[in-house]
């Protein structure tokens, strides 16, 4: 967790450098970030922990990108029960009533699809990156790569 925070502050410095150098590129970066999966930090900043909200029959944020070893907590904010079930049965919650939570720690990198077994139209995705390489959009090289990719478009 400590390492993750350090990475964030490094990200901030890198971001400042990019702003200083090329404002036009930055706006493209912002656009690209909006298209990318939500990062763990976005969910973290709101609640202090990495959480996925179950609200209005949907999982948010989804897809969610996290570094390996991260614990994710789902919170049911609906008036009806939901479940969190991995499609390949790697994790499975009991029915969560209103306000109830379920947590799972993702140790291995990979893409995890999950759904609500009560309302199977509700689906979500967790993308687990190797701890050091997680969230490339927040690193300087990642920002540049994204900007260049968009310019090519």
């Amino acid at each position: 967790m400590q390492r993750w925070k350090m990475q964030q502050s490094k990200t901030a410095r890198n971001l400042a450098a990019v702003i200083f150098g090329a404002a036009a590129v930055l706006s493209l970066v912002a656009a690209s970030a909006a298209l990318r999966p939500h990062s763990a930090t976005a969910a973290q900043e709101k609640t202090g922990a990495i959480s996925v909200s179950i609200d209005n029959f949907s999982f948010a944020p989804s897809p969610l990108e996290i570094p390996a070893g991260t614990e994710v907590t789902w919170i049911n904010k609906d008036d009806v029960p939901h479940t969190v079930v991995s499609t390949d049965r790697k994790f499975r919650s009991q029915a969560l009533d209103t306000g109830e939570k379920f947590s799972f720690t993702f140790q291995d990198p990979g893409t995890y699809q999950y759904f609500c077994s009560v309302h199977p139209k509700m689906t979500g995705t967790i993308i687990v990156k190797r701890a050091a390489a997680a969230n490339p959009a927040r690193t300087g090289s990642g920002l540049l790569a994204n900007a260049l990719a968009l310019l090519r478009l």
């Binding site: 209005n56 029959f57 949907s58 609906d78 008036d79 009806v80 029960p81 479940t83 079930v85 499609t87 009991q94 029915a95 009533d97 209103t98 699809q113 999950y114 759904f115 077994s117 009560v118 309302h119 199977p120 139209k121 689906t123």
Partner: protein, 319 residues
């Protein structure tokens, strides 16, 4: 004839305006008469005003649905009370129903105490027998084991079964188990194989009544209001002259006719849900307290032998 049948271009007893009124919520209630698979609809208030004697047949039964015992949120903080009102409504019918069908979501969270409350409440129903099928809320954590132990004794497979009454064949199906990511309700190959076997001995003139929790037609797949493999079941039913399919799940009345198959969904006894696509999600709908009982209700069905006729009456808890 009701004022709801004003023009009848297809000679099917239903005009477009009448059908649309029939599709509306049960705010005033709807009475539906089925003849050879053709639906005729009347406003319930019209039916109640005149002598309903001609609607009586060899068999009448009642459908109740979606009691959600254990639910206590703003949409209805006292679902036990509205269930009691539904029971009182059934007990007040001039003809005692031969049996009652509960089309699922007996409970909200599949808890033993919720099943207890439901079973205790329904003991006061004046009828010979109650038949059940599970809703997804009844099978939350154990694949329906507790439900089957309490309400599904003697059933086949994961809880499906059939029985005969006064010449009509009744089939209870389970479409809430082992649902797949991104999908809808599911019957599954085992149940479909059983259904095929169950129907094979029947004459095509036998009236069929199928009941299951999630609609067996695509009401609104975006909200999961449909069953992925229902077409396979419906194809097995196509040869029969009169098929009525009764479902719950969507907490509002809706009807549709497809060939000789008439589909009907019942109100909840607990809380209303929005019309398809009229809200962000299909969650419980909060309505003003004085309006709640006009959106909850029970369904009465009369079967007339020989005419292959089912008359379906939806009545709300209000009035």
């Amino acid at each position: 004839m009701s004022k709801y049948i004003e023009e009848n271009l297809d000679r099917d007893g239903v005009d477009r305006r009448g059908f649309l009124k029939c599709m509306a919520w049960a705010g005033t209630g709807t009475f539906c008469l089925l003849q050879g698979g053709v639906l005729k609809s009347f406003a319930l208030t019209d039916v109640l005003r005149k002598n309903a004697g001609d609607l009586k047949g060899d068999l009448s039964f009642v459908q109740i649905s979606d009691s959600h015992i254990g639910f206590n949120k703003a949409a209805n903080p006292d679902v036990a009370a509205t269930l009691r009102e539904a029971i009182a409504k059934v007990n007040a019918l001039s003809t005692r129903p031969s049996f009652v069908l509960h089309t699922g979501d007996l409970t909200h969270l599949s808890k033993p105490e919720e099943f207890d409350t439901l079973a205790e409440s329904l003991k006061s129903l004046k009828t010979e027998r109650i038949f059940y099928v599970p809703g997804e809320h009844d099978v939350l954590n154990d694949n329906g084991q507790m439900f089957r132990e309490r309400f599904g004794r003697g059933t086949q497979g994961d809880g499906w079964y059939s029985f005969d009454q006064k010449g009509a064949h009744f089939i209870g199906l389970v479409n809430v188990l082992d649902l797949k990511a991104g999908g809808l309700g599911k019957l599954g190959p085992d149940q479909l194989a059983w259904l095929e076997k169950d129907l094979v001995r029947l004459k095509s003139s036998t009236p069929i009544v199928v009941f299951a929790h999630i609609p067996l037609w695509a009401v609104y797949p975006q909200w999961g209001w449909g069953t992925d493999d229902s077409e396979q079941a419906l194809s097995l039913l196509k040869r029969f002259g009169s098929v009525t399919i009764l479902n719950g799940h969507i907490h509002q009345t809706m009807q549709k006719i497809e060939g000789n198959i008439a589909f009907h969904t019942a109100c909840s006894t607990a809380f209303p849900q929005p019309q398809p696509g009229q809200a962000d999600s299909p969650g419980p709908m909060k309505v003003p307290a004085e309006k709640l009982r006009s959106l909850l209700g029970v369904t009465e069905v009369n079967f007339v032998r020989g005419k292959h006729t089912l008359a379906i009456v939806d009545s709300t808890l209000q009035g």
